[in-house]
Amino acid sequence: MPRPVPLDEAIATHVHDGDTVALEGFTHLIPFAAAHEIARQGRRHLKLVRMTPDVVYDQLIGLGVADELIFSYGGNPGVGSLHRLRDAVEKHWPHKVVVHEHSHAGLANAYVAGAGRLPFAVLRGYRGTDLEQQSDIISRVTCPFTGEELAAVRAVNPDVTVIHAQLADRAGNVMLWGLTGVQREAVLAADRAIVTVEEIVDEFPERTGAVILPEWVLKAVSVVPNGAWPSYALGYSTRDNDFYQQWDAVSRDRGAFLAWAKENGLEAAADA
């Protein structure tokens, strides 16, 4: 791992057009700043992966960054719809986005398989649902010992995974805590991993439930204080619930959305 690099350099070096990109963080620690940098650099044709697309992917989809989406719950948590996601799927604006959808258990296990470099994972679920019609990502296997039939999901191995964390140390090891979601698996499943952090410290504190990722599984670390806003970083910020609620109005209307993009220096990306 190199010394910390600026975020624009990390994204320019590691995120390419057409890549499969996972930005993970389950409500907590969502890497919004990195997402905006990806849009600002005009990346196109991405296959985006995220359990909960959330406002972060609603923005990227509206900005025309994604051609495909792998996900498991596409709502604005506690608020309602993701209107940009809906507009892309229902009306193909700014263009059509093809969805591949899992349950949470399914996508979590797809990352688990990816982190272990296994081609698939087994779980108790899916049976009898119409999600099984997506036979390229959801299938069945039979237990060789009991004959029981179980669900199987195809592994997810992103080209790039991006996460936000609280801390890096001087060597570039990364520490995150609180709700750590599926970030460990998403990082270890990826070919390349980028982490934005709140700050760099000499030594990690004691933290129950912390995940520590050694520097040698990461490609880049960038210091981006508040890089999860309007999501949050436990110990540094709280979730900006107002922004999430206000997003509903912004995202409902294409014009309002484009105005938001312009105000935030993301208009070049919104080329629809």
């Binding site: 596409g74 948590p77 108790r124 599926v182």
Partner: protein
């Protein structure tokens, strides 16, 4: 209907009452979140709230807005990763009660939260599955909380996101008991012990059989000994208001 509560209040109160001390409850966003916290702050202080974001035994001091609020991790006995949550806790059958919502539900308790219309070219794109399919399959009891209307209570769901009792009510193979209760703004439905067809067994105060029938997209059956749900108590309504106002409440 009296002036100090409405049908949404009644729905949440009725759901909360189904949760008992000692129950391990998987809590999702929306009404389940309200109902579970209402139960914990009234009759079931020792029910155990599990959030799919990873918080086990969360004791939020005020109603969380999302299932990832910082208060959940801060007050939980243990915080686990999302894969562990789904594999070792939900999938392993450690959840006694799972609350689910629905955009559509059919008479055999099969649930759609994915799309209205065709999957690849939907009329309405809904949020999708989330934790529901595995909660529906593996929780000991599944309680569906949903407002009753001909738009939601349909003969056939457009997409089966979570399996209740299967297309004809006889296909359920999962470990849990399935949707044992559907709690609506009209009353409570339960699967018929023989056929698994959702049957109205209780009505909320002031709701008539005719109203419930009119709000259902299939020929709704009613239990012979249909009961009336006791109306919300002052204690329940007061706590409901405080939770909605996001007051800090000591457990």
């Amino acid at each position: 209907m009296p002036e100090n509560w409405n049908s949404a209040d009644m729905m949440n109160v009725a759901a909360a009452r189904e949760l008992h001390d000692g129950n391990v409850c998987l809590v999702g966003v929306g009404p389940p979140n309200l109902a579970a916290n209402l139960a914990r702050h009234t009759h079931a202080p020792d029910c155990r709230l599990v959030y799919e974001s990873g918080a086990i035994d969360a004791k939020p001091r005020r109603l969380p807005l999302s299932i990832g609020d910082d208060d959940l991790a801060a007050t939980a006995t243990s915080v686990v990763s999302v894969p562990e949550m789904f594999n070792y806790w939900v999938g392993a059958g450690r959840i006694d009660v799972g609350f689910l919502g629905a955009a559509q539900i059919d008479k055999f308790g099969n649930i759609n939260t994915t799309v209205i219309g065709d999957h690849d070219n939907p009329k309405t794109r809904l949020p999708g599955a989330g934790g529901a399919p595995e909660i529906a399959a593996n929780a000991g009891r599944v309680i569906v909380i949903v407002k009753q209307s001909t738009r939601t209570f349909v003969e056939k769901v457009d997409f089966v996101t979570s399996v209740g009792y299967g297309p004809t009510g006889r296909e359920r193979q999962a470990p849990g008991a399935g949707p044992t209760l559907v709690i609506t703004d009209h009353g409570v439905l339960e699967p018929d012990p023989e056929t698994n067809e959702l049957t109205m067994t209780r009505l909320h105060p002031g709701v008539t059989v005719e109203q419930a029938r009119a709000a259902t997209g299939w020929d709704l059956k009613f239990a012979a000994d249909i009961q009336s749900v006791p109306e919300p108590t002052e204690t329940e309504l007061d706590m409901l208001r405080r939770l909605r106002a996001r007051e800090v409440i000591d457990a």
